[in-house]
Amino acid sequence: MAGESMRDVMIEARRPPNAHRGVVKWLQRNLFNGPLNSVVSVITISVLLWALWPLVQWALIQADWLGDSRQACSGEGACWVFISARFESIIYGFYPEAARWRVDIVFALMAGLLAWLAIPRIPGKRWAAIIAVIGFPVAAYVLLLGGHFGLMHVSTRNWGGLMLTLTVATIGIVGSLPIGIVLALGRRSNMPLVRAVSVVFIEFWRGVPLITVLFMASVMLPLFVPTEVEFDKLLRALVGIMLFWSAYMAEVIRGGLQAIPSGQDEAGKALGLGYWHRMGLIVLPQALKLVIPGIVNTFIALFKDTSLVLIIGLFDLLAIIRAGLTDSDWLGFATEGYVFAALVFWVFCFSMSRYSQYIEKRLQTGHTD
């Protein structure tokens, strides 16, 4: 036969062969496909069970859940009564009891706004964004600090617990992103002065540890400014945290900017778009999308590092739990305290991580699906 052939009937597209579905199939394919893999799977699962079982027993099965004093603790497992008895202070810190409803309102507003912004099915995103950027900060400021509209003034010295952690984290996150964007653009600018200022700023703040920044803000700054000018300690910490993280954010975003082909900017130029339009409409939307993992990574690091404010005497979630450990009625419950603190931090950070993955999928516009 000569090596010639010709097809006169085209092949219709067919569906792919049935993918294996169901739990049993999944297990077969992924854990028990072959004798060696089966043995490895059994050993791994056994080791995991052996290592994790005592933790489950301690934290859940033998734990004490109910009660309001130390007497409720049996001593066999974790005593979560320690947490529930101090729950209010863990949430509100030293915020006066009579005014805690104000914190609750801010929490509720924040949760509502986040849901409004994050869930695509709820309409009116533009309004949500306007309220989140302008309305919410004003409302939160008035409600939390008081002193206006007949609300009792609550000094930031009394702020603490989860409420302080969330305040610092939210302001840090919301502040560092735009400053970071401006710095990243500045570092790539054609104007030598703008570029120099950005580079010096970024390298300075990235080069010092956050603890140093907080110490400088709380201890050294008052030495340099006249005594009549009194900055709030929390405000100083907030500014320090914001500037510190904006330097990191700038470098993450610069990475994204560099990944966008120059043809994109050129196409914008050719269409007559000015610098800010090209950046805002063409380059940044693509660059930011590309570095969502890096941005969220920075957010998560920022969120966890808020607990460093304890070294300048602010009582965030972790500090307030630590303070509880020294309560003579509750000596010896450090493990419960730290495990609970870790769990709260993990829930917030894991949520951010999941949401960012979801956003990445939603913004996908390429050919791949």
């Binding site: 994109q264 196409a267 130029k269 050719a270 269409l271 000015g274 390429g366």
Partner: protein
């Protein structure tokens, strides 16, 4: 391009370059370029790679800056002033080798972007114009897709429509078919030929000699940053004068 503007400009050329020189560092890319493009003229620029042909047309809308000489586009002389550069760019459409569509925007949004932000047109009007031009490049049915979902030829046709939406007085093409699979080259060239027939002033850097023969009023051959030969297509292809041109033509037409 309305009749009124065409007559009011009288016989001012569309593009005028005088004594243009450009260097990349020490490398002299453009050497003493003098070129005048009349209104409605179609010019094809060809030459070996590295001859400066892309750089030449990129100077016209200031994607590249030049160090010496003068460029006047549509009666406006090019300076370093950003506002003036942007004003010149509004009259000059450009199509790139790699399309450079905005991948995060749909085809329709790609075409509306500069209409809304540069020309400040209302959304509905911008979309109407966009659909008209997408219709003309025969891709209106893909208006709501993203560039990543289209073939190369389709993307390049969208890029042409996007440039036309600004109603430019001159169109620059920088190797518009070089990144395309062979079977898609024709669909893009057809659109360009159509555009030439409608009287658009065009400057095309291309190796498509068939296109040059069909539509060009003049063919310009460049080598080592200078214009070697300039002639109508019949003369250029049948009786090239320069040895370099003959060599170049034998290399691209010979096989």
């Amino acid at each position: 391009m309305s009749q009124a503007t065409a007559t009011s400009h009288g016989e001012t050329p569309m593009i005028e370059m005088k004594g243009l020189n450009k260097w990349y560092g020490d490398f002299h890319v453009l050497r003493d370029i003098d070129l005048t493009v009349k209104r409605g003229e179609r010019i094809v620029v060809c030459g070996p790679s590295g001859s400066g042909k892309s750089t030449l047309i990129r100077c016209i809308n200031h994607l590249e800056s030049h160090q010496q000489g003068e460029i006047v586009v549509n009666g406006m002389s090019m300076t370093q002033d950003v506002k003036r550069i942007e004003q010149i760019r509004r009259n000059v459409g450009m199509v790139f080798q790699h399309f450079n569509l905005f991948p995060h925007l749909s085809v329709l949004e790609n075409c509306c972007l500069s209409q809304t932000w540069v020309q400040k047109k209302p959304r509905a009007e911008a979309e109407k114009t966009a659909m008209e031009y997408l219709e003309r490049v025969q891709i209106a049915d893909q208006a709501y897709k993203y560039p990543g979902q289209l073939s190369g030829g389709q993307q390049q046709r969208v890029a042409i429509a996007r440039a036309l939406c600004m109603r430019p007085e001159v169109m620059l093409f920088d190797e518009p078919t070089s990144a395309l699979d062979p079977e898609m080259i024709k669909e893009v060239l057809d659109v360009m030929i159509e555009l030439a027939r409608e009287g658009m002033t065009m400057l095309c850097v291309t190796h498509e000699m068939g296109f040059a023969k069909t539509v060009a009023d003049r063919v310009i051959f460049m080598d080592q940053g200078q214009i070697i030969e300039e002639a109508p297509p019949e003369t250029f292809f049948n009786n090239p004068r320069s040895e370099r041109t003959k060599l170049f033509l034998s290399q691209i037409l010979g096989h």
